[in-house]
Subunit: 227 residues, 2 copies
């Protein structure tokens, strides 16, 4: 029996702001008395299901977000860097195969560590190194950097295209929508048996207040994990 | 000669999130080494000029914002409460006459104190007491609560409909757009001769970092001004 509060992080590696939230939550999983559950979902499905439009379509908002992300990346110590063609990377190529792969990783792993490592490598590819995340070769490279063997990766690629994995990604996406998602990250804190959803990477101070913890800034420890 | 950093707050009392930012900045004007400049603008003009759409039109986003505002109001200690018909209050009735009135107040006052008090009373009417802010009677009531006399208010109402005041509101709104606004609040910090714009009521920690100050939470003092 644990008194840890369950905190679910619904995420998709196509979303740069979600990377910030992902790193913050991975840092705080050992600082706050929480059980962090990584919930790989599909942002495209959330946008379609909620009828939301990407914020970057308004020119002033796109310019601001570019600047905002640059400042936040530095402040959060996450090596976020926009790809040369963000619209192509996010909307034309997208993240469907990548997120199916992450779901397959989660199905095979005994805990969330492997999911964390693979997701981080995928984010690093698309949102730091301007690299592809759609082909089997790209997914293999990311997984091998995360410490997997070639044969493990082969099996995961095979699993990625099964109905079971596709359905699992769909059902997690639907769960996020049922929690009221209209984008990612969606962080659902379970407080006294009630889900409290927080959207975005700018509600940590409020979230800490709601779960009875203290916000110590985006980098709560002296020696951050080297990203 | 002052070494205070100039911080401009572009605002419109029709925006609830801007109320939060307004109170935070009014609290920090005496905590941080800044010169706060209140810049009354017209949010309708910013939305039109930037081609942005109100976020509340996406149902999941509207539901989330309702919940988010409730939590933030409590955390920020601002008595924010949605009007019974937010769409009517924000989009049908709007804030054009109210913001012209605030601009007129600013034109007559020797410093920003009167602008602060009148703006707060207008916010309290629309975003706490579910009251009108469009008629001369409503504006009078707000101004008199802010300590003005009946004759001062009469003169301000007369000024509100002059070309000079209308043009001043337009030009401030245009200035916000020129700074990249796509909504309010827009907080422009002048750092080393360069404007650094921050959108929303959730970038204070980052803003403090950028201007070399410390974020002490939404309520930096032990005894908040009673709102």
């Amino acid at each position: 029996m644990s008194s840890k509060k369950v905190v679910e992080l619904f995420f998709d590696v196509v979303s740069p702001y979600t990377w910030l939230a992902f790193e913050v939550m991975c840092r705080y999983r050992n600082v706050w008395n929480i059980e962090l559950k990584l919930r790989p979902g599909f942002l495209g499905g959330v946008m379609q299901g909620s009828g939301n439009k990407p914020p970057g379509l308004v020119p002033n908002k796109f310019l601001y977000m570019t600047k905002d992300m640059e400042r936040l990346a530095q402040f959060f110590e996450v090596p976020l860097k926009a790809p040369s063609n963000p619209f192509e990377a996010m909307f034309e190529k997208g993240s469907l195969s990548a997120m199916r792969f992450v779901v397959a990783v989660q199905g095979q792993a005994k805990d969330d560590k492997q999911v964390e490592l693979v997701s981080r490598e995928l984010w690093r590819r698309i949102w730091s190194q301007d690299k592809d995340i759609t082909t089997p070769e790209s997914l293999s490279e990311a997984a091998m950097k995360a410490g997997m063997s070639a044969s493990e990766v082969g099996e995961l690629l095979r699993l990625s295209s099964t109905k079971e994995i596709k359905d699992k990604l769909k059902s997690t996406t639907q769960e996020a929508l049922d929690h009221g998602a209209f984008g990612f990250p969606l962080i659902v804190c379970h407080v006294d048996g009630k889900p409290e959803p927080f959207f975005g990477s700018d509600r940590f101070e409020l979230m800490a207040h709601c779960i009875g913890e203290k916000w110590l800034g985006p980098q709560p420890k002296q020696s951050p994990a080297k990203l």
